[in-house]
Symmetry: C2
Subunit: 193 residues, 2 copies
């Protein structure tokens, strides 16, 4: 059993190194990306859509050339366990998702995924064993047509210098940068000399 | 000259392998993360804020334990070239940013960063050479107090099964999943048997 070009054990190793822990969702994510890669539409360049920010984007970043920083991976916050790989120009894609109808054969996965058990009640060894055994059997596929402009990040456009903080920012944000307009996550800022 | 625990050349190698190309922003990003790591406030567990989705998040993901999928990296879309590392519980952090006042000694970097030249007019060899030479000299630091709840992703909460598509989704999104409510990036979807 392989996950893309890695053995299952090699993939677990990569997950631990990149993500920090053997998150069940990221192991299922490996099977999701693997199945999508095996069913790519024709074409040469593929971008990815991940329908949740939780765990799954790391499977895409570990296994494909698509990352958040290079813009080939887009995240839409639907809270759904699904990845689409699509041809960059045509938008033709394959969507792979965790199929709730296929969960009944794997009660520990079902209870974890549908949050029927508290974390402390989960048997994580059994959960990982069921995930390894189930693999692709948890998943279904769809042929989708992606509207790339709905998911791709927007161009930054022209750059201005903020008159308040002196830093560069996208001119389209207005007369000041968003931080100085008050949308800041910082309650205090002090220079370090 | 090192970037965190890597030599400069090793870091470039990681950038190429993870990000796909030697993006100038990601090389500067390496210096940004390196400087932040060397000036961490006291504490054991650090989360990251990246103020642009372009390139920079990949420097954080390559050099720190923080990734998009594990939630320790948050991206705020201010279009600013800055990274903050902050102690997870206290919110005390260090923010490192590309300082426009320090760009005048490095004209090729300035013209690239402030978009004063078209991509075809840039001398990318000179740009990378100036970045390597400048390193930390492009950067300034601030002590910041982060409000973690403003940047951290929200908990998914209870899970429901969408009556339209049959997939699991966060109950808080309403009676149907967001995709079936019409916020979809897909213009057509067909099952693959």
């Amino acid at each position: 059993m392989n996950i893309c070009t890695y053995s299952y054990e090699e993939y677990l190793h990569l997950v631990k190194s990149f993500h920090g822990s053997l998150a069940p969702g990221l192991i299922i994510g490996g099977f999701i990306v693997d199945l999508a890669m095996k069913n790519l539409p024709e074409g040469e360049l593929f971008d990815a859509v991940c329908e949740t920010p939780v765990c799954l984007p790391d499977a895409v970043q570990i296994l494909t050339p698509c990352t958040i920083g290079n813009g080939w991976l887009s995240i839409v916050n639907f809270g759904k366990f699904a990845v689409t790989l699509y041809e960059k120009y045509s938008g033709k894609g394959v969507r792979v998702y965790l199929d709730t109808e296929k969960l009944n054969d794997w009660p520990e996965i079902r209870d974890w995924y549908l949050k029927k058990k508290k974390k402390t009640e989960q048997d994580s060894e059994l959960l990982l064993a069921q995930i390894k055994k189930a693999g692709h059997k948890l998943l279904s596929m769809q042929k989708v047509q992606v509207e790339p402009e709905k998911v791709r990040r927007k161009k930054m456009g022209q750059v201005s210098i903020c008159p308040v903080c002196g830093e560069a920012y996208p001119s389209k944000h207005g007369a000041k940068c968003l931080n100085c307009q008050g949308e800041t996550p910082y309650s205090s800022v002090a220079p370090i000399k």
